[in-house]
């Protein structure tokens, strides 16, 4: 019996604290566990007994990278429950700040967290020594996204200007104008990013995923739509719990989410791209085609190109929104609470983020459920490794480990903002 153990204690460049365990016996993979060590954060419990209006600000604390996603899923859930529609320019402004979040989150991942994997660097610092201009460009792109978030949200980490019903304060068209030049620069940089990521070396690896994303008839869905998949799912957000189930798995502190009928599925940029390619702007579609991507992409390593296409789309969309912007009369729509169950789902940078609340007639939250993208992708992360490891079994141990880490980072996992490492453990017997 051939036995070998490969151990890597710390995998950097992911958000949060987790571990990966791969067991190989006689050149066969016998076990894969993607473990999330992070202690339970109990946000769903904190929310009980709080007022509906506090949900966006409390849930924003879950993530420092994608607070807008949490605020928007929470706010829209409440609006849905209370029968309120936030439309017109207020809706457009929400999409605009969300574009800012996509730009900053995706630029961070593409340039600082994922690219070093493809170029063979331990981290962005090593990469910067040889590719200073590329890293500078990534930092500058991220900054444009952060500035948009800080301007519309009041500050970039845990913004304070979003609320149920809209905003506390809305900008004038003149105040938004300085972003036009910045976004035009970002647009060019994003196009270069798409071209550059397309030149990276990609492993030949495809999986027959079920891609799940919001889909909207008129736009590349960010803030609303029906949950649709490439395998026949097509449901309203309020039907989520009929089709998806979360289960506790002993080795991880994050619930595993699966489709009741079919199990593993994938959310995030790759899922959105596959479900909504036809809704990308013509320029973004063209850039994707020029980069060698068709309307369907099943190679998870190519998610770095897809993220770049989404940065380009977000710049395109932000410019369109600013161009068409007129200051709304009121910064928010009036909201009257009533007893109801509230359902909300938006497309966080890492994928669909589902919120459900039960609220009483005074607007007090009775219970809450939050399903984050990373918890939905856990099964797919493991499934990728089951398929990937046999393919690369003959690589030297360090290279195999590297490949596994890279495969995990394809998902830009956000285990949380609380800690910063993932332990990888490959055991061979």
């Amino acid at each position: 019996m051939k036995s070998r153990t490969i151990k890597v204690d710390y995998l950097a460049r992911v958000e949060g604290e987790g571990a990966l365990y791969v067991k190989i016996r006689n050149n066969r993979v016998t076990d894969v566990k993607f473990k999330i060590w992070e202690p339970p954060r109990l946000f769903e419990a904190f929310l009980r007994g709080r007022n509906y209006s506090e949900a966006p600000d409390i849930t924003a604390r879950i993530c420092g990278i994608c607070p807008i996603a949490y605020q928007m899923s929470a706010a829209q859930a409440m609006e849905d429950a209370f029968g309120v529609a936030v439309a017109g320019q207020l809706r457009a402004l929400r999409r605009l700040i969300y574009c800012g979040e996509w730009i900053e989150s995706h630029a961070l991942h593409v340039y600082l967290l994922h690219a070093p994997d493809f170029l063979g660097y331990e981290d962005a610092i090593q990469m910067a020594k040889d590719h200073a201009e590329i890293v500078q460009q990534g930092l500058q792109l991220k900054k444009v996204g952060n500035e948009l978030m800080a301007f519309l949200g009041g500050r970039e980490v845990h913004p304070i200007n979003l609320r149920v019903g809209g905003f506390y304060k809305v900008p004038t068209k003149r105040e938004l104008a300085p972003f036009i030049e910045k976004l035009k620069w970002a647009w060019d940089a994003a196009l270069e990013t798409v071209r550059w990521t397309a030149t990276l070396p990609f492993p030949d690896f495809e999986q027959d995923y079920e891609f799940v994303a919001l889909r909207h008839p008129d736009e590349y869905a960010i803030t609303e739509g029906r949950l649709v998949s490439n395998k026949g799912l097509d449901i309203a957000v309020r039907e989520y719990d009929d089709h998806f189930a979360e289960e506790h798995v002993p080795y991880t502190n994050a619930l595993h989410s699966g489709l009741k009928e079919r199990g593993a599925y994938l959310v995030g940029p790759l899922a959105r791209y596959n479900v909504n390619f036809d809704k990308l702007s013509p320029l973004a579609q063209q850039a994707a085609r020029d980069a060698g991507l068709g309307p369907v992409c099943r190679n998870p390593f190519k998610s770095i190109i897809v993220r770049s296409v989404e940065i380009l789309y977000a710049c395109d969309e932000a410019l369109r929104i600013i161009d068409e912007y007129e200051t709304p009369e009121k910064p928010a729509v009036e909201v009257q609470p009533r007893a109801a169950t509230a359902y909300g789902c938006t497309e966080a940078p890492r994928g669909s983020l589902y919120h459900r609340y039960r609220v009483d007639d005074q607007g007090v939250i009775l219970d809450a459920k939050i399903v984050a993208p990373t918890s939905q992708n856990q099964k797919s992360v493991e499934s990728d490794l089951w398929q990937l490891v046999p393919k690369y079994m003959d690589l030297p141990p360090e290279e195999l480990t590297w490949r596994c880490e890279q495969a995990v980072r394809n998902y830009d996992p956000c285990i949380s903002c609380a800690t910063q490492f993932l332990k990888l453990h490959i055991e061979r017997e």
Binding site: G64, L108, A128, K129, V135, L139, K143, T419
Partner: protein, 161 residues
């Protein structure tokens, strides 16, 4: 050129709700009241990219953060970033993918380090949830305030680095 001519940027880092992790912020708050006019004082969470952005136009920067490297609680470490690399192990309390040490090293790789960068690290005792410094770190915080005021008084000539 001295820092008095260029102005010095003082950045206190940390999370005030994680006990001693907030020491950088406490020092920054005290320096806001005590520092001379030519010094600007900022409080930051410690996210590396934001940090690089905030110091980009500064010639001289003093950073204050909590560290956790096994020394006696309250121990004060002082580095000159130009004379030694900053270990990523040292500032591992950061809540972000991109820590203070990584920001310093990335800035160095990109040629974007401030011309003068002094880092004060205070060894923390407890990083549990909640406000308030431990007595050891509280004592060290006052010492850092005085050391930084001393740095500002003697101008930290750039030639030192």
């Amino acid at each position: 050129m001295s820092v008095r001519e260029s102005g010095t940027l003082i950045i206190g880092l940390g999370n005030e709700y994680r006990r001693d992790d907030g020491v950088g912020l406490v020092v920054a708050q005290r320096l806001k009241a005590a520092a001379p006019e030519h010094a600007r004082v900022l409080e930051e969470g410690g996210e590396g990219v934001a940090l690089m952005e905030s110091w980009k136009d500064a010639d001289a920067v003093i950073l204050i953060d909590a560290v956790h490297c096994g020394a006696k609680p309250g121990t004060l470490h002082r580095f000159d970033a130009h004379t030694q690399p900053v270990s990523t192990e040292f500032f591992h309390c950061s809540t972000h993918t991109f820590s203070v040490a990584e920001a310093i090293e990335l800035a160095r790789a990109l040629g974007r380090l401030p011309r003068r960068l002094i880092v004060y690290g205070v060894e923390g005792k407890t990083f549990e949830a909640g406000p308030g410094l431990s007595p050891e770190v509280e004592k060290a915080a006052q010492e850092v305030v005085e050391r930084v005021l001393g740095d500002l008084r003697c101008d930290l000539p750039l030639a030192q680095s």
